[in-house]
Amino acid sequence: MTRNTGRVLGVNGNMVNVEFDGAIAKNEVGYIRQGDIRLKGEVIRINGNIAALQVFEMTGGIVVGDEVEFTGEMLSVELGPGLLTQIYDGLQNPLPELARQCGFFLQRGVYLQALPNLDWEFTPTVSVGDIVKAGDTIATVPEGLFTHQIMVPFDLVGSFTVTSINKAGTYKTRDIICTIEDSKKKKIELSMVFSWPVKKAIQLYSERLRPVEPMTTKIRIIDTLLPVAKGGTYCTPGPFGAGKTVLQHATSRNAEVDIVIIAACGERAGEVVEILKEFPELIDPKTGRSLMERTIIICNTSSMPVASREASVYTAVTIAEYYRQMGLDILLLADSTSRWAQAMREMSGRLEEIPGEEAFPAYLESRIAEFYERAGIVRLHDGKIGSVTIGGTVSPAGGNFEEPVTQATLKVVGAFHGLSRERSDARKYPAIDPLTSWSKYTGIIKQSDVEQMRRVLHGSHEVNQMMKVVGEEGTSVNDYVTYQMGELLDSCYLQQNTFDPIDTSVAPERQKHVFAKLRHLMNMPLTFETKSDVRRVFNNLRQLLLDWNNTLWESDEFKAAEAALDEAFKALM
């Protein structure tokens, strides 16, 4: 392929105009040469022989006339064994390796190989003469907990014949392990690694299925009231300080999936560090291995260049799709999609595009829809089922959900977990508003039972509103019971303490068990003389339930606390 070159014409923030020769493609990658260093950029607009490059680095020091090299390739990521446990920036630079080479700071223009050249125990699954096509498995290597399938590169079109394949044994990531040829006898050499352009969805599957199976998060309010399905999408908008990130971290620790990919997009570096340092220490109860072994982190924090922030969510979803092709369940957590949208807005401003609402570009909605549509549960060509679930946080300006990013997101997701400032101010965590949030998926508890709980919560809320007008004395004892019941469900079931070792993750069985107990209470005919009786009884019940929540599932303390609760129930009869 001939490589095109160009010269810098102008610099405006992180957008550089380049005059080029020959033909170049939109989204092609170019490097601006500055002495020894090369700064990476992506073509985002072409006009005549002038290309606008969004540069993934600080643009200080660039001089008009600097030489630009175009690569002829779109912005891509490397896919292959060794992705798990890695910590990448938005362009798939491994950050720990970068730290070893450059020290404390992120130096400009240093791009490292995404995948280390490690040894793998290689087992071929095809033989010479077999016919293969893109996405077919040709071999497997064990990668931590999983059997990593080595696949025919996804961008190869047509059928190919295997002309050689290495015997079982130990090979390095970048060794040539297989050769295939197409119908015109053109030979292609394959290693365990290939690349794929991040902005294109991987669509090598037979059909997309409807997401029905719940993806449990061990967070009661989500699993019971606002469930998410495997292959589904959900969003978590909330004002700052409402606990979006704490909630996502809890989800990333506890979600019942094979692999979790965390895209920290334009958020605080400190939060990523917590994951970086804690995950290797935490043990996944399901596998008995470190949580890091099922985690990949894409980290482009707020102070890192804005253009690679835009790329980071695509990098993350591409890696998720890659593992989905092996029949695994992946959860992608993007925090925060608003920062990604803002990155688009910044570029759009520099391109002098006509701004839409709040200066976001007109294509904001379609980009958001495209991104969430990359989630899904699919049946692959080999019959396996794989899924990508996407959960994105949204940081709406001023905590107002009427803004463009939240609204565009709500149109395309299957569940909405809206965080409320009032709840977080009152330290009611997780601060998901149980009344306004919704989910289109079915969860672990029968729908009609969930509806009953929702009715109680709504009733309680109404009585509470009414009490603000007519006062407690103007409220009937029965209404007051409804109010207290809602408050009890809220404080003992919907609220959950992430920092308590037991309450932090509640398995579905336990949720069902506790929920049944609460349903029993909801169905009990309760009569009281006075409101202070009601308050006394419910204070007592709350104490018993909170203590019960803090006991280990099925331990003696658990049973004792349950017995105490049953005793209290009996007294109500």
Binding site: F105, L276, A359
Partner: protein, 434 residues
């Protein structure tokens, strides 16, 4: 490189353009008028047309002025001689002492690799219960103080500066009233802290562009000292002026405004400053406390709103007190498990009850009859405000925790507090019984 350009093509706001070749983006230049000289830096290149922003403002700049490019970006001295000194937004002395040219470093340097960061682990004690107990300040944290103009935010900053256990204080003043500048100087001098303080001060009467340089100057120096092992506390006041200066520049440059006239990259610009807060493994740390006045007491205004998403919590200053609602130190979880076993539970429990107190207060103000429970809450709220929230209270954390239990014991039965039974058994004031 020392070629002098003597034809200025345009002058708009504080931005001038000249035709020049071989100029780098971000490069520093000197613009010499008849009687004065000023620094300027390159903010845009378009062919041979170079846009520069003049630090001292373009007032009186003539199309015949001389522009000389210096071949390097903006720099600041980082020598130990900075201690006890006061500079303006361009790094020139404000205290009639000699200029410093040693150990020059670039400002606005690259971001720290997240993989090299460590989890913050040290509490910074301030003796203010609303901070120590309810929203602990942690080394390497970045926290704004949201307040309305007129609130004593500078007094609070100065008090924290004097009481906090740190090696070095760097004050970045932006759009500071001259009186406030003198207040800081006098307070730090009287408190004996001036010899561990460096001040970069832009006062309200100084040129706007210099305002935008102050945080970068202060943070570049802070970072340098932190790398040398110092625990640095950076106080920035007031970041709203910084953001407004940025808005002014953006509009001068014909950028499309996004929200209330602020540029679309407001979040990124603020973040790249706040993210300089860091704890270096094997070296020192940078902690940032920044006053942010909320125009019209509106937290949804773009400046406090974007700030809130960047920083690790916030303190709300209202009516001369740190408000328990909304105030939050995100990093407190990192340290308050190691302080005392009841710290977390007490902190959450007391705030929950204070929220109920507010509801009761609302009911009372609407003229409703107060139930027995409401009466208890009213008593609790009054005690809480008097003994915990008042900013003049100055007690160590442990004493504050004990005080918390005493207040609860004075007002409630144990099972009304919503606290776990084991904690109640251990900590409920003994003379009251359970």
């Amino acid at each position: 490189m020392q070629k002098i350009y003597s034809k200025i093509e345009s002058i708009v706001g504080n931005v001038i353009t000249v035709r020049a070749k071989g100029v780098a983006n971000g490069e520093l230049a000197v613009v010499a008028s008849a009687g004065s000289t000023s620094f300027a830096n390159v903010i845009k290149l378009d062919g041979d047309l170079v846009s520069l922003q003049i630090f001292s403002g373009a007032t009186g700049t003539s199309t015949g002025d001389h522009v000389r490019f210096l071949g390097n970006p903006m720099r600041v001295s980082s020598s130990p001689n900075l201690l006890g000194r006061v500079f303006d937004g361009t790094g020139s002395p404000r205290d009639n002492k000699p200029e410093l040219k040693e150990e020059m470093i670039d400002i606005g340097g690259p971001s720290v690799n997240p993989a090299k960061r460590i989890i913050p682990r040290n509490m910074i004690r301030t003796g203010i219960p609303m901070i120590d107990l309810f929203n602990t300040l942690v080394e390497s944290q970045k926290l704004p103080i949201f307040s309305v103009s007129g609130e004593p935010y500078n007094e609070l900053l100065a008090r924290i500066a004097l009481q906090a256990e740190v090696d070095l204080i760097i004050l970045g003043g932006m759009g500071l009233k001259y009186d406030d500048y003198l207040y800081f100087k006098d307070t730090l001098e009287e408190g004996g802290a001036m010899n561990r303080t460096i001040m970069f001060v832009h006062t309200a009467s100084d040129p706007t562009v210099e305002c935008m340089l102050v945080p970068d100057m202060a943070l570049a120096v802070a970072e340098k000292f932190a790398l040398e092992g110092k625990k640095v506390l950076v106080l920035l006041t007031d970041m709203t002026n910084f953001a407004d200066a940025m808005k002014e520049m953006a509009i001068t440059m014909d950028q499309v405004p996004s929200n209330r006239g602020y540029p679309g990259d407001l979040y990124t610009q603020l973040a790249s400053r706040y993210e300089k807060a860091v704890d270096f493994e094997g070296a020192g740390s940078v902690t940032i406390l920044a006053a942010t006045t909320m125009p019209g007491d509106d937290v949804t205004h773009p400046i406090p709103d974007n700030t809130g998403y960047i920083t690790e919590g916030q303190y709300y200053l209202k009516g001369g007190r740190i408000e328990p609602f909304g105030s939050l130190s995100r990093l407190k979880q990192q340290v308050n498990s190691a302080t005392r076993d009841d710290h977390r539970a007490l902190m959450d429990g007391m705030i929950r009850l204070y929220a109920s107190f507010k509801e009761a207060l609302e009911k009372q103000s609407m003229g409703f009859m107060m139930s027995e429970w409401d009466e208890k809450l009213l008593k609790y709220g009054a005690l809480f405000e008097e003994k915990m929230m008042d900013l003049s209270v100055n007690i160590p954390l442990e004493r504050a925790l004990d005080l918390g239990w005493e207040i609860l014991g004075d007002c409630f039965e144990p099972n009304e507090t919503g606290l776990r039974s084991d904690l109640i058994r251990a900590r409920w004031p003994k003379h009251l019984g359970e």
